[in-house]
Symmetry: C2
Subunit: 478 residues, 2 copies
C-alpha cells in the first residue's frame, strides 16, 4: 500500500495549529475503540484530535445499572478530557465535543456540524452503533433502547413512574399494564434488564407500596429466536432461562414483535393447530413499559464514509475493513469497534468474524494505533488478530453465565450461577475506568447486595417526562 | 377555635379505604416541612397520605453541588417511599406521586391532576416555593434557577458545555461569552454558585483544555442590593466578598438586571456623574451562561388555597397563617415551610417573622403535626415558636461565613473562613437523610478536597440539550 498520508500539514484556515512535521491523527468517537487508540498513541510523535458528541467515555457494559437505579451515572462515565488529561497536558492531544457531519476523504478532512474542517493525516473512525427498530422508528418513543446516558435516565424514569402510576390507579384493569414490563430481545442486555427488573419488583420495592404489591408485577422477556442468549451454548441458554425464571421473570421465546404502541406489544408466535400444522398466531400484551434490546445498527458515519470513499458496507451498515483495519484505497483511514465489519486473521487462511463486544473494540483500537505507528516508521501494517477471552452475561443477583477460554490452551470452560456472577463482578469492576469509580461501584454493589436496595432511585420532576408517561389518565385501548 | 374536622369519614367513591374512626391527614409536598410532619405522626392513630409531584425528598441545601458536578443526584435525594417505608409497612401512611390541581376546602378534598379526589380530615400544605423572575418569565430559558434535580442537571450541562464550546471556538470575540459565567442574586445560593464556578474554572478544569485556559474564565456575581448576603451582618458580607474574590469570582453589587437574552445580561448601575449627581448607567455583559438565584415565589397552591378559603396571601404569594399555623376559619388546614408567611411567638406580644430556611420549615412541620395530635385529643392548639440556631453560607473550598447562637444564652458568635467551612460541612453532612448518603457525600468531598476534582462531570448526549445551548454556531449580537 502506498502512503498518501503522514507528512502533509493543515491548511492555513484550520483552527488547530499543527507543528510542521507532526502528523495528525483524528479519532472519531471515544468509546472503547477510540479511547484505546488515543492511549496507545500517547508516546508517539503525533498530534491527536479526539472528537465525541458527548463529554464522557461510557462504560457501556454497566449502563443497565444506571437504567435500573443501581448506580449513579458518574460511577460508570468519566469526562473524556479528564481521562486523557495527561496527554492534553503534554501537548499530545486535543478533545473536542462535537458532532461529525461528514468525512471528506479526498481533502483528508472531517467536517463538524458547525462547518469546522479538521484535517487528518490518519483517521480512526470509532463511532460505534445505535439502536435499530428494523425500519419501525415510530416504536422508539414507546420502547427506548439503551445506548447512552440519556437512554438510561429515560428508562429509569419510566420504570419507576410505572410503579407510581400503578399505586395511583384504583381500576385493576387499568392498573395491570402499569405493572407489566416487557423487554424485547434476549441478548446480554435484554437478559440483564429483565433479571434486574424482576429483582426490583420482587425485592427492592416489595414493602414500599400500599395499594399495590410490587411482587405481582410481571416482567416478560420476548425473543424472536427459539432461546435466550443465542450466542452462548445451548446449555448456558437453558441455565440463563432457569435463573431468569427463578428471579421472577418470564421468557417468551419464538415471539416476533409486529407492533408496539403506547398500550402494549403485538407479537406473533408459531402455534401447533388442531390439524397438526403450524401457524403464526397473533397476541397482544398490554403494557405501559417496553424496553428495546433487540436491534443494533451501525453509526450513520459508516454511510458518510462510504459516500466519500466508495467503501463497502455490510447489511447492518458496518464498514467492511481490510485485514489491517483500513479501507481499500485509503491506507490512512481505519475503522474500528462496532462500526467495523472486521475479521480476525489468527489463521490467515481462515479468518473469523470479530464479535461486537468491548474486548473486540479495544483490541481493534490498539491495532489501528499500532499500524499508524508502523506506517510512520515506513513499515508495513499488520493484520488484526482477535483474542477471544470468552463471553459472560449477568442475569441478576448471584446469577450469571460464562464461557471462558483458559489462556495458552485450547480449552473453554462453561459455568453459571453464583461462581459466574462473582467472576462477572470481578471482571467488570476491574475494567472500569479509574480507581475511584471502582471503589464507588463496589460500595454501591455491596450495599445493594446486602440490602436489596438501589440507591439511585431518583429522577427529575415529572415536568421533564415524555408526554405519554406523564401523570395523566389515558383510556385503555379498545 | 371550633373543630370542624377530626372524625368525618371519606365518601364511598374515594379510592383509599379509610378505617372508620381513623382520621386522615393529607400532606402536600414532601420537602423539609412535609417530611417532618409525616414523621412526627408516625405513632399517631391517623391515616397519612403524602402527595408529591416528584418521587424523591431533596436535600436542597446541597443541590448546588449536583449543579456544579460535585455530587451525583442520588447522594442528596432519596425516594420518599423508601424514607417512609416503615410507616408504609405498618399501614400508617400512603405515598402518591402526583400533582395537586386544586383544594376544595368546603368538601375537605384535594383534587389531583387526573381528577382523583382525596378527602382529608386535616391538611398540611407544604408545597414550598419556586423561582420568580419578577414578571419576566421569558428570562427562564436563558437563566435557569436552582430548585429541582431537573434544574441542577440543566445547569451542570450548560456550565460544562460552555467550556466545551469555548474550546471549539477559534474566534476570541465569540469565545469570550462562553467563558463568562453570570450569577444573578447574591443570597446564599448565588454566593455558593459563584464560588464553586470560580473553583471549577481555576482548579478543576485548569489543565484539561488545549485552545483555552479555563483560568481565564470570568465568574460575575450580580446583586441589586449594595452587598452580598444581605441577611448576614455587614462584616460577614465583607468577608464573604473577600473570599469570593480570592477564589477568582467578581462581585458586582448595586447592579439591577434589566434584561437577559441568549447573548448576555443588560443591567443598570448608579454612577456618579461629572456634575456630582447620581444617574443609572446601562451596561451589557456578554455571556452565554446565566444562573438565576434572585427571586423566590410561593407555590401556586397558595393561590389555590386562597381561592377555596379566602385566606390572605402576602406580596410573595405566601399564605398568612395564624399563630398555630392554621388559616382563619379552617382549624384543620395548616400551611408550613416556604409557602407560609408565619410568625414566631416566642414573645407573644412581639412576634417575629420566620425566615424561609430549612430549620424553619422542619419546625413548622413538626408543630403542625403536634397541633393535629392536640386537636385529636380535644386540646387547644399552641402557637408556633421558631428556634433560630443561626445562619451559614458556604462560598467554596475552605471558605464560608457563619453566625451561630450559643444555646441557652443570648450570645451569637460570628466567624468565617476555614473554621466556618468545617462547621458548615459538619452540619450539612449531619442533616443529610440516611446513613448511606452521608458516607457517600463525605467520600465525594474528601476526594474533591484533595484532588480539586468533581466526579459528576458527565451529562447526557447533546441531543437532549435545550435548543439554544446546542452546538450550533450563533452569530454574536449586533
Amino acid at each position: 500500500m502506498a502512503s498518501s498520508a503522514s507528512s502533509s500539514t493543515a491548511p492555513a484556515s484550520n483552527a488547530i495549529a499543527v507543528k510542521p512535521g507532526k502528523p495528525r491523527v483524528v479519532i472519531i468517537g471515544c468509546g472503547f475503540g477510540g479511547l484505546e487508540a488515543a492511549k496507545a498513541l500517547s508516546h508517539a510523535e503525533v498530534e491527536i484530535v479526539v472528537i465525541d458528541r458527548t463529554n464522557h467515555h461510557l462504560f457501556q457494559p454497566l449502563l443497565y445499572q444506571v437504567a435500573t437505579a443501581g448506580l449513579p451515572a458518574p460511577a460508570i462515565a468519566g469526562p473524556i478530557r479528564h481521562i486523557l488529561r495527561k496527554q492534553i497536558a503534554k501537548g499530545n492531544l486535543t478533545v473536542l465535543m462535537g458532532e461529525v457531519s461528514s468525512i471528506d476523504a479526498a481533502s483528508s478532512c472531517v467536517v463538524l456540524d458547525d462547518g469546522e474542517h479538521i484535517h487528518f493525516d490518519h483517521l480512526v473512525l470509532a463511532a460505534g452503533a445505535t439502536h435499530s427498530y428494523f425500519g419501525r422508528d415510530d416504536w422508539a418513543k414507546y420502547a427506548p433502547g439503551l445506548k447512552t446516558l440519556g437512554d438510561a435516565f429515560s428508562i429509569r424514569r419510566r420504570v419507576l413512574t410505572a410503579f407510581e402510576r400503578a399505586e395511583r390507579e384504583s381500576d385493576p384493569v387499568k392498573r395491570e399494564p402499569w405493572l407489566t414490563f416487557a423487554v424485547v430481545g434476549a441478548g446480554p442486555t435484554g437478559v440483564e434488564m429483565a433479571g434486574t427488573l424482576a429483582e426490583i419488583a420482587q425485592q427492592t420495592l416489595s414493602a414500599e407500596f400500599r395499594r399495590i404489591d410490587s411482587r405481582m408485577a410481571r416482567v416478560i422477556l420476548l425473543e424472536g429466536a427459539p432461546r435466550v442468549l443465542g450466542t452462548f451454548t445451548e446449555d448456558l441458554s437453558q441455565r440463563a432461562q432457569e435463573q431468569l425464571e427463578m428471579l421472577g421473570a418470564e421468557v417468551l421465546a419464538g415471539a416476533k414483535v409486529t407492533n408496539i404502541t403506547a398500550f402494549g406489544i403485538h407479537y406473533d408466535v408459531m402455534e401447533k393447530q388442531a390439524d397438526g400444522s403450524n401457524r403464526a398466531v397473533s397476541h397482544f400484551l398490554p403494557t405501559r413499559t417496553v424496553i428495546w434490546a433487540a436491534g443494533v445498527a451501525a453509526s450513520p458515519l459508516g454511510k458518510a464514509l462510504a459516500k466519500s470513499t466508495g467503501c463497502e458496507l455490510d447489511r447492518a451498515g458496518r464498514v467492511v475493513v481490510q485485514p489491517d483495519l483500513t479501507i481499500p484505497g485509503h491506507p490512512n483511514i481505519y475503522v474500528v469497534g462496532d462500526l467495523a465489519s472486521a475479521k480476525s486473521y489468527e489463521d490467515p487462511d481462515n479468518p473469523t468474524p470479530v464479535p461486537g463486544v468491548s474486548p473486540g473494540a479495544k483490541q481493534m483500537g490498539r491495532k489501528a494505533a499500532f499500524n499508524i505507528l508502523r506506517r510512520l516508521k515506513g513499515q508495513d501494517t499488520l493484520a488484526f488478530r482477535y483474542f477471544d477471552y470468552g463471553s459472560m452475561a449477568t442475569i441478576g443477583k448471584r446469577a450469571a453465565v460464562a464461557m471462558i477460554d483458559i489462556p495458552f490452551t485450547k480449552k473453554r470452560i462453561r459455568f453459571s450461577g453464583f461462581a459466574a456472577w462473582l467472576f462477572w463482578l470481578f471482571v467488570h469492576v476491574y475494567f472500569l475506568i479509574g480507581f475511584r469509580n471502582r471503589t464507588v461501584v463496589m460500595m454501591d454493589w455491596a450495599w445493594a447486595y446486602f440490602t436489596s436496595q438501589r440507591h439511585a432511585r431518583v429522577f427529575p420532576d415529572p415536568h421533564a417526562l415524555e408526554p405519554h408517561t406523564r401523570v395523566v389518565r389515558v383510556d385503555t385501548p379498545e
